[in-house]
Symmetry: C2
Subunit: 146 residues, 2 copies
DNA sequence: TTTAGTGCAAAGGCTTTGCAGATGT
DNA sequence: ACATCTGCAAAGCCTTTGCACTAAA
């Protein structure tokens, strides 16, 4: 049986836009397309440069504002690593994951471990703390850089 | 039996200074004293303000540069949380710990869990990744803010 | 038509740097 | 003496904002 309605990222985005009385624009649609088909962990600048190929007149601020909007409606996460500029990660229909980050080449490897997740929740509870979200980043040397 | 030589943070700092051909100054000693007796997770600005009490002529850049020096010689860690300004945590003779961070009051609670640490190492190894360091931050609501 | 969005440029906010004078060694 | 350190101010760097114009609804 198949009673489920499939919601694409675009559906979610358009719904959000409508509910909030915002407007859908050429730029928004284009940013959505490029963002979801680009490399994960993209910076504003990288996305801005990609956008200019198809929408040459686009402004940096527009890209930036729309990435914020994507975070707001739950379709992206902002990742800040040390002093690096912010990176944005698409978030759609996938479980939470952590990152292995290579300190030589900068690569992000996505991993997840349900045991660690559970222990984290226990750790929070043991401190009378209600966990909302978490970030785990392991820095080291990746296979290729050894 | 007691053959161990006790190294204070100051010993380590002075050794590092000497080895590198750097110089010990009035400001450095003062910053070391204040930093290690101040609240953990202090910002440059907070430390700068505290420093001015005993060393009124001190400059912001001096505080900043010496915090970097402390990180360099392993006596401090820089912590960056989202868009907040950098915070510095004294690191001396204590095991690694993670943070529970209250999203209401901003409080940092230090916690550690050896099981999680072990699983993190396994997770890294399973990905052919040599772990060097890691950060785990759990955001949520603390006891007092519930 | 009305109100939100865009693009530009300027402003912010924190971090970092250049430099002349002061200061350890 | 000589190289490092300091304090100041300026520059950097990324992010955010103000504003006049454009364009969804």
């Amino acid at each position: 049986m198949e009673h489920m309605i499939k919601h694409t990222a675009k559906d979610i985005f358009r719904n959000y836009i409508q509910e909030k009385g915002l407007r859908n624009t050429r730029q928004r649609e284009a940013i959505l397309d490029v963002f979801f088909s680009a490399d994960k962990h993209i910076t504003v600048e990288e996305l801005f440069n990609k956008m200019k190929i198809t929408v040459p007149e686009i402004g940096y601020a527009t890209v930036h504002r729309n990435l914020s909007l994507l975070c707001e409606c739950g379709l992206a996460d902002e990742i800040k690593i040390g002093k690096q500029k912010a990176r944005y990660e698409p978030k759609f229909g996938q479980e939470h994951h952590d990152h292995l980050i290579c300190i030589k080449c900068g690569k992000f490897i996505e991993v997840s471990d349900s045991k660690i997740e559970k222990l984290q929740n226990k750790l929070a509870e043991a401190n009378d703390f209600i966990p909302v979200k978490h970030t785990l980043e392991i820095f080291g040397i990746c296979r290729e850089c050894k």
